[in-house]
Assembly symmetry: C2
Homo-oligomer: 251 residues x 2
C-alpha cells in the first residue's frame, strides 16, 4: 500500500491510526510507511456480521477502515455486553497478536471496511522497529484504559451518566481523527447497541435518550449524535478525558 500524503487525502485506516498515534507521541514518516507495508488485503463487512469469533486461532489482526465495530461477549441467557466500540483507525484486535486466540467476538455494528494485517509483519516490527512496536503496544494499553473506564461506567454510573459518558468518549475519539467535535458526530448504530455497550436494556436507553433530549443536552437520531450542551453532557457523565491519554510523550 502506498503512503497517503497531502492535506485532503481520503482517510484510510493507516492514516487514521497515524493521527491517533501522533496525538500521543511522534511517529516518523518512515514508521508510517512500515505500517502501510504491514497492511494486507481489505474486506467489506455487512452490519451485524461476525469478523472474528471467540476461540478462533489468529494469524492476522484487523485494522478498521470504515464503520463501527464492537468487541462483545454473550452470556448463556442471551445477554450481550459490548466491551468496546471501535472507530476508524483502531487496530481492533491487535490484542490477538499476543493472545493468538481471542476471548471475545468482534463484529460489525454498522457496514464496515477492514484491512487484515498478518502477524508475521507485526513480529518483524517488534524485531526491527522497537519504537513503533512500543507505539503499537501503547495502542493496546490505551484500549485497556478505555475498557477500565467502561468498568467504572457499568459498575457505578447511573443509566443516564453511562450514556452521556459513552457519547463524550466517542466525540473525543472521533475528534482526534477529524470525524466529530463537541457539536456532534455520525454514529451509525442502534439504540440496542448503545444498550449492549452500557449494560442497560434498549427500553431504558430509549427513556434516558428522551430525557437527554428533553433537557436539551443531546439528541441521538438517525445515526447522528447532536450535542446541544457539551458542558452539561460532560457534567452528567462525569467525563474526564485523562484516560484517553491525549498527550504527546516519548513512549
Amino acid at each position: 500500500m502506498k503512503l497517503q500524503s497531502g492535506v485532503s487525502a481520503p482517510l484510510t485506516g493507516v492514516s487514521a491510526l497515524a493521527l491517533k498515534l501522533r496525538a500521543r507521541d511522534t511517529l516518523s514518516s518512515e514508521e508510517e510507511q512500515v505500517l502501510c507495508e504491514a497492511v494486507g488485503e481489505t474486506r467489506e463487512i455487512r452490519p451485524g456480521h461476525l469478523i472474528v469469533r471467540a476461540g478462533d486461532r489468529l494469524e492476522t489482526s484487523v485494522l478498521l477502515e470504515r464503520g463501527i465495530v464492537a468487541r462483545y461477549k454473550d452470556l448463556a441467557g442471551g445477554e450481550r455486553q459490548i466491551q468496546e466500540l471501535h472507530v476508524i483507525g483502531d487496530f481492533v484486535d491487535l490484542h490477538g497478536f499476543l493472545l493468538k486466540r481471542l476471548d471475545h467476538n468482534i463484529g460489525a455494528v454498522s457496514s464496515c471496511r477492514i484491512s487484515l494485517v498478518p502477524h508475521k509483519g507485526l513480529t518483524r516490527i517488534t524485531e526491527e522497529h522497537p519504537h513503533l512496536a512500543r507505539m503499537l503496544w501503547f495502542s493496546t494499553v490505551l484500549d485497556a484504559s478505555i475498557q477500565r473506564e467502561t468498568i467504572l461506567s457499568v459498575g457505578r454510573r447511573s443509566a443516564i451518566a453511562r450514556i452521556a459518558h459513552l457519547m463524550c468518549e466517542l466525540s473525543t475519539r472521533l475528534g482526534i481523527i477529524g470525524l466529530g467535535d463537541r457539536r456532534g458526530f455520525p454514529l451509525p448504530i442502534k439504540q440496542l447497541d448503545v444498550a449492549d455497550a452500557t449494560g442497560l436494556t434498549s427500553v431504558h436507553v430509549n427513556r434516558m435518550l428522551k430525557q437527554l433530549r428533553d433537557e436539551e443536552i443531546m439528541t441521538f437520531r438517525n445515526g447522528l449524535v447532536t450535542i446541544h450542551d457539551w458542558d452539561r453532557l460532560v457534567a452528567t457523565a462525569e467525563f474526564d478525558p485523562i484516560y484517553l491519554h491525549i498527550e504527546r510523550i516519548p513512549r
Copy 2:
C-alpha cells in the same frame, strides 16, 4: 514470620511472574535472569495505602511480591470501582510503562510488598529482547482480557454470579502460582473490597455470601475462601477460563 518449608525456593515476584508467563509460552532462564536484573528496590506497603495516584508521571512500574493490590477509580459521589485485583507476580502497572501517566489509582488492599522496576530497563528489554518484550506485552493484554470479563460481569451478570465469578477467577489465577486450588485460597480482603470489585454494595455482597454459604457452594470468612462445590460455583458464575489464556503458544 513463617518458616519456609519443602524443597522449593520462596516465591518472589519475579519467580511468580515467570510461573505465570511459563503457563502461556516458553521463557528461557536467560530471559528470567534479564527480568531479575530489571527489578530495583523493594518496599512494604500498609493496607489501604496508595501506591500510585492517578495522574502521576511514572518512571518505574510495580511488581507485586506479596499481598493483594487493586486498580481503582472513584466518582465524585465517593463510589469506588475496583477494575482489577492483583496477586503475587502481577506486573501491576506495566501499563504505566507505555501510558507514562496512569489514569487510575493503584492501592494496597492487604498488607503488601512491592518491587519497583525502572522504565529504562524495560525500554532496553524492548530493544534487546524482543521475545521477552512480547511476553511483557502479552501480560498487559492479559490484564485487558481480564478487565473485559469484568465488564461482562458488572454489565450483565447477577449479583451472586459476579461474586462467584470473581472467586473462580482468583482461584484459577492463584492456582497458576501455586497459592490456591479448587478447594480454596487465602484472600486477605474485606467484603467492602469485594463490593467495590463487583459494582455492588457491601450489604448486598454480605447477603449473597450468606446465600453461597447456605447453599454449600463456598464460604468467605477471615480472609479465607473455602470452596465446597467447585462445579456449582462455576455454574453459578458461568465461568469459562478461556479468557485467562492458559495455553502454551509461541508469542
